[in-house]
């Protein structure tokens, strides 16, 4: 009888351990890139690539104003309705076109900031995106934002590790991430 009791308790502990393991925090950084400002998106990429350098996994979810950052300036997509065409024209076309969140000064501030960064050998946003791809940072692009803004998949950059998804996919990744950021 005792042995049976012990066995039952052991199984109970094992099953609790499995549950705990499933809920344990993963060595991962999950970033929601909501903002479309150059400085904020750049900071997200610095954190994501820095995380990989530290031995962590990094995953980013581009949504809302962050979505246009991943457009490819050399690609375009047809078959858009009027709103889609308007969004396409008004929103920045890719990483090179995004502006600084402060002191943009009609584009001059952003240009000056880019010049300073170049002079000090600070990686530009395009360079950071390329580095992120090389390091295996995974990117999810929000399908809802795509749909709302009339963007099509074919006008986005070629990035190995880029997928289109909804919030549930991202949350499944993020829920156990040790570091969760909204930028």
């Amino acid at each position: 009888m005792d042995m049976q009791n012990l066995q039952n308790q052991l199984e109970e502990v094992q099953s609790q351990l499995e549950t705990l393991k499933k809920g344990a925090a993963e060595n991962k950084v999950a970033i929601i890139a909501f903002s479309g400002d150059m400085d904020k998106v750049l900071a997200s990429f610095v954190i994501a690539t820095g995380a990989v350098a530290m031995g962590m996994e990094a995953v980013m979810f581009f949504t809302f104003w962050g979505t246009p950052v991943l457009r490819d300036k050399n690609k375009s997509a047809g078959g858009k309705d009027l709103m889609g065409k308007l969004f396409g024209a008004m929103l920045p076309k890719g990483a090179g076109a995004v502006k600084s969140s402060k002191m943009n000064m009609g584009g001059m501030g952003t240009a000056m900031m880019k010049a300073v960064m170049k002079k000090k050998n600070i990686a530009s946003l395009e360079e950071m995106i390329a580095l992120a791809e090389e390091l295996g940072v995974r990117i999810y692009v929000c399908e809802m934002s795509m749909d709302m803004m009339g963007f099509k998949r074919e006008e986005f950059i070629d990035y190995k590790g880029l997928d289109f998804a909804g919030v549930a996919t991202f949350l499944a990744e993020a829920q156990n991430a040790k570091v969760q950021l909204f930028v």
Binding site: T49, G50, V52, A53, M54, G55, A123
Partner: protein, 80 residues
């Protein structure tokens, strides 16, 4: 002061700005075997705190830190 650390590889990270020094360090350490030492040179002032933090989370060890003008030299032993 004595140069008795056996260095397997020198990594020139001078002139690179955050996050490059740590990113390249994490790549460079994989190019030597466990137990071997990489000597990294950097001019990024943030490295003074970044490298120890990186070493701690990546499971490697900084044997020595030297400062020569504005060049910081880290002697990093691969431990994992």
């Amino acid at each position: 002061m004595s140069d008795d650390i056996q260095v397997t590889k020198v990594l020139d990270l001078k002139g690179l700005a955050c996050p490059m020094p740590v990113v390249k360090m994490s790549k460079g350490i994989k190019e030597v075997n466990v137990g071997e030492v990489v000597e990294a040179h950097t001019t990024d002032p943030g490295s003074l705190t970044d490298f120890p933090a990186w070493a701690k989370t990546s499971g490697n060890e900084i044997l020595k830190t030297d400062q020569d003008g504005d060049v910081i030299k880290f002697y990093v032993a691969r431990r994992s």
